[in-house]
């Protein structure tokens, strides 16, 4: 038996769901690490959309962009995690609610 082709709309729905979970997580969670992971989730949701369109449009542009996003996300993770380590060292927490010096 042949596995039936998955209709592209399902990929997009999945991507949408992943993105929404990521947004909600990033906005509501207080732990910086979790927020960070949620952002990764959003990035990967976008990657999935890129790949989907790349396949259905028979174009490599999307794949290319997905690689870009991955590279940037990796660099960002390195910088972000280093920041978290330093914030934790100086303030004893990485709870984003308590890191609020950036205000009036």
């Amino acid at each position: 038996m042949t596995i039936p082709e998955v209709p592209p709309v399902l990929y997009l729905v999945l991507s949408g769901i992943l993105f929404t979970i990521g947004v909600i997580g990033a906005l509501t969670r207080r732990n910086a690490l979790v927020v960070f992971m949620c952002i990764e989730l959003m990035l990967n949701a976008v990657n999935l959309t890129f790949i989907t369109f790349s396949r259905f449009l028979q174009s490599l542009d999307g794949v290319l962009f997905a690689f870009f996003v991955m590279a940037v996300a990796a660099a960002e993770a390195a910088v972000g995690l280093a920041i978290f380590v330093l914030v934790y060292r100086s303030r004893g927490t990485i709870n984003v609610d308590e890191v609020n010096l950036l205000k009036w």
Partner: protein
Amino acid sequence: MLDLVWLIPLFPAIGFLINGLLGKRLGKGAVSVVGPSAIGLSFLTAVLIFFELIGRTPAERIFEKEIFAWVVSGSFKTVIGYQIDPLSMVMALVVTGVSFLIHIYSVGYMHDDPGFTRYFTYLNLFVFMMLNLVLANNFLLMFVGWEGVGLCSYLLIGFWYEKDSASNAGKKAFVVNRVGDFGFLLGIFLLFVHFGTLDFTDLFGALQKNPQMISVETATAITILLFVGACGKSAQLPLYVWLPDAMEGPTPVSSLIHAATMVTAGVYMVARCNVLYTLAPLSMAVVATVGVATAIFAASIGFCQNDIKKVLAYSTISQLGYMFVGVGVGAFSAGIFHLMTHAFFKGLLFLGAGSIMHALSGELDMRKMGGLRKKTPVTFWTFFFATLAIAGIPPFSGFFSKDEILWQAFSSPHGHFLLWLVGAVAAGMTAFYMFRAVFMTFWGECRADEEVKHHIHESPRIMTIPLTILMVLSIIGGWVGIPHVLGGGNHFHEFLAPVVGGAEPGKAHAGISLLAQAWASSGEGAGHSAALEILLMVVSVAIALIGIGIAYLFYVKRPELPARLAERRRGLYRLVLNKYYVDEIYQVLFVDSLKRLGTGLWRGFDEFVIDGTVNGIAYFLGWISSVLRRVQTGLVQNYAFSILAGGVVLAVYYLLRSLF
């Protein structure tokens, strides 16, 4: 030698730099050598140049030396350049010569002053600026010198700046001069607009060739504006008020700046612009009228002053008035002649006053002097001869120059009988108040305090030698201009003729030929005018003698008379004693009202409108931001939420737009 004209102002400039920069380190001895010798060298240069100049034929006696281009902008070009011609030569000789003597005198006079170095620094700077003024070959450099001497005048009037009255007098002189300088500047601007050049030779040369270049109205406007400047610098009505106050400065400064040189700059400037002035008969009349009014006005104030320097100050104002009468009636060389003789005898009078102060421990009030004839003989004789000169007694220098002016005031086409009459009366008044000063100071009993009496002594040689030299000049200085009727050659007039009119009648335009006629009639002219000239001479000498006689009666024979007279005419006496209340009137009219205007603008405009606008904007922005800054919570997730919200809004907007 003429090429070296720039050396004349250079020496004082070097002296200024040495004294100013190194004076403190070099010490008094070096300063008292550097200061006078700088001026001495420039006097020597001037004399050498003078001899070379008179070796030339009169037509070739003009020489210009451009040092470098100073301002070049489009068609406008001004150079730093010096001009030697008979007029500037006379001025340079008078300035350097008298300055040299006064510098030497100052070494003695200022010997114990803590500001000795500063004094010579200023004095050298002054001579440098004054030489720039008289040697400049264009109006702009002349203006630099003009302002420079004003600055030095300010610095030296306020030399003893710890004294309130001295620093106030300095300020007053500066501010009043500013009024005049404003007019002078406007005059220069007008000249530039109409001629496109400020160079004397170019400007006056073009004008002489073609007098129709400017209308009479323009010439009048320019000359009146220039005369406003002259009024300020030369202390004429109504801007004379600063000069009596300027006596707060050291006495040699009063002698040099406020009698002999700087205050005559206005006369020099009018004489320099003689081509312009002859084109504007109205301005000439204004100059002569202001001059004669000042002459008699200041002379009358001189009657009642008790401060010897104030008497001399009003006398200076009065004599400057004479010079303006001279240049105002077109007798430019007579004005310059009087300028020169005045520099000798008035410089001497001031130095004599300084010597008297020296003898009397700084006393200025003539009521506390008297009987100094025996105790300070050199001061007495020099002062006495200078007084004879200023009173116009022949054969002293003042007689020739003053009479030349009076004769011209009578006979010149620009002259008038009234000008002569008022001038002659003022001459009598001059004789009166000057001899009043002499009698009060040198005759009678000594009225000084006992303490002061013990210390009366003649000044040291370094002060009396300049006095003696100036005395000789005051006696013989007038002999260079003995008029033709008295058998002289009037060499002074002939020397100046190439610059100040009396040019060849054939080529000259209307104004100049009128002048030439005047000269012709005053010179080798008809017999009846010669007789008239001698008659007027006799009259003015008689008036002077009457003035001296009255002074003798009042202050030697019957010393109680003046007090009785003052009692009888008390109102008039108070009016004159208080200098006609001119200072008070100016205080109310100008100083107070300007102060009120200034205060009004400060409170009303500056504080309310400008500060209000600026502060209002700041308060408004502060209020807006105090509301807006609530948005900055510091919570990153809030910011992320707003980004999301913004994204959603944009997405919805584009969706809706694509749907409809």
